[in-house]
């Protein structure tokens, strides 16, 4: 990859953000972290990340969903992969799972990961999504060229 991919985290846990900065930084990523929902939208459109990781529960139980929805409404961000982290999904069983599926569809979330997630799990998901996106971009270029 010519340019290092930019990953943006929105999470209210600063220890988690510090750790991800070190972890993904060590893997050659450019890491941007935001510790609050307030002002996040503006920062995201300035930063133009290649991938976004959102925590579901910040100020409110659905802060992550609402932010995800609004990111998608920005035409420039329409196909940026969004990974959602949640501390409650596993605990709440299938009911939340069904709701989550509907919401995932609503926001066009790319993946849902349960906290506590390991950096390696997260890295795997991130690389997968970035890979898919690169493939899609290549295909689009090929189509345009052809």
């Amino acid at each position: 990859m010519a340019k290092s991919p930019k990953i943006l985290f929105v999470d209210d846990d600063r220890d988690f953000l510090a750790a991800q900065t070190a972890f993904f930084g060590g893997r050659g990523y450019e890491v941007v972290t935001l510790d609050r929902v307030e002002g996040a939208l503006e920062r995201i459109s300035q930063e133009r990340p290649d991938i976004i990781v959102l925590d579901l529960m910040m100020e409110h139980y659905d802060s992550g969903f609402l932010l995800g929805r609004r990111i998608r409404q920005d035409p420039a961000m329409i196909d940026v992969p969004i990974l959602m982290l949640s501390g409650v999904a596993a605990a709440t069983g299938h009911k939340f799972g069904a709701e989550a599926a509907a919401l995932k569809d609503w926001i066009k979330l790319d993946a849902f990961l349960d906290k506590p997630v390991t950096g390696r799990q997260l890295l795997k998901a991130v690389e997968e999504k970035l890979g898919e996106r690169a493939q899609a971009a290549k295909a689009a270029t090929a189509t345009a060229a052809g």
Binding site: D15, A19, A22, G26, G87, P116
Partner: protein
Amino acid sequence: MTSILVIDDEYGVRSGICQILQLEGYTVEVAATGREALDFLDKQAFDIALIDYQLPDLDGLTLLASMRSRKLATMTCMITAYANIDTAIAATRQGIDFFLPKPFSPDDLLGVIETLSRHKQLKEEAEKLRKENEASLLALATEKSQTSSLVASLRDAVLVINREREVVLANHAMSALLGREPTELVRAPVDDVLGAAHLSGLADLLSAQGDEERKLAELTIGDRIFFASVVAFHGEQGTALGRILTLADVTDMRRMAMEKPRFIRTMVHEFRSPLGAIRSLIEVATEKSLGADLAPYLPFLERADHRIDKMVELIGELLSLSRIDLERTANAADPPADISAAVAATMDLYQEKLAARRIAARLDIAPGLPRARIGDDDLKTVLSNLVGNAVKYGRDNGTLQLRAALRDDKLVIEVADSGIGIRAENLPQLFQEFFREKRAETRDIDGNGLGLAIVKRLVERAGGRIDVESTVGVGSIFRLSLCTV
């Protein structure tokens, strides 16, 4: 054995009668005067008294009147040689049972005695029956009143209807539920009584179609949840006489059942978040994200260590909460709290933290306060939570005021800070486990949302209460109201 008293002033007559009767096996006593007769009657009960109309001291009618006033069960027969219609009428008015004119034959006498003994027996049997009847009526009335008191006192609502679908019984709980007077309900058609829309669940349960022996259902009336049961009751021949509806209010049980998963869900979140952070912090080191040198990892490991400390603290507070719930009532052996001592101990504990933030503490403790009806340790826990919050959510160079005074027999303790305050919409949840206000100002303040939940439970189990007033940006006042000893 029939006992007879013969009252006649003529010796020949009374001894003659006595002999005839004794020969027949009767027990006989004789009296020559009215006075003597009354003495006998006062001493023993006679089945029959034969009374001469003419006595030396008083006449037969007066004797009869005296006997009547004594309410004796003795049957009476007047014997007189001067029988005339006036005497007969007068004697009958005094309650004479028989009239035997002199002279009479032994057979006449024995016939009268036999008749009177039979009357006596019949009268006694009638009396016995009357008494038995009265006793069983009394028992019945007692049982009825016991049953209705029992039904009235039930916490469950009870409604009984007959075959004609009329209400025959409704207790207080039921009439309160239906919003009608119990007297208004009796004999009212049940379909009218349960006509309102919010009672349609009950109407369905008691609908005319259903003739099952027993029906059970859970239904909601207003904001309460009830467990309903309908049972048919039968007469001796097995014919259905009506149905009994009972409603048990299970709202609190249901709410508690719903509260538990909510609590666990929140608790899981409270564990997962720090675990997620700790794992990522450690992973930085295990993945060697910052190179081979150890030094850059230390801040990450120190943060992980700090987060583990916080989790240990959380576990400790969860245990405190469950211990308080288990104990329910305050330990009676705990010495009652001395407020000024508890305040002094708490202020000592926070001296350094207050100084570090340059928060000026002002104490205003009324002198000679009585002891509070709360365990000494419990009050210290309460105060240190409140003062701790005042420091955590206070502002540098701010103030902390601690006031204690006696108001209307209650010990009122106020902890007032000049801190960031609490949003009005968050006040109702403030004492709920794990609740923390998520605001820009609170994000850097450590806390697990259990402190105030513990405070509230400790205060309430001691029979006290806690209130809070707060204005965002101005500060909060926590007010404890405790009973005195």
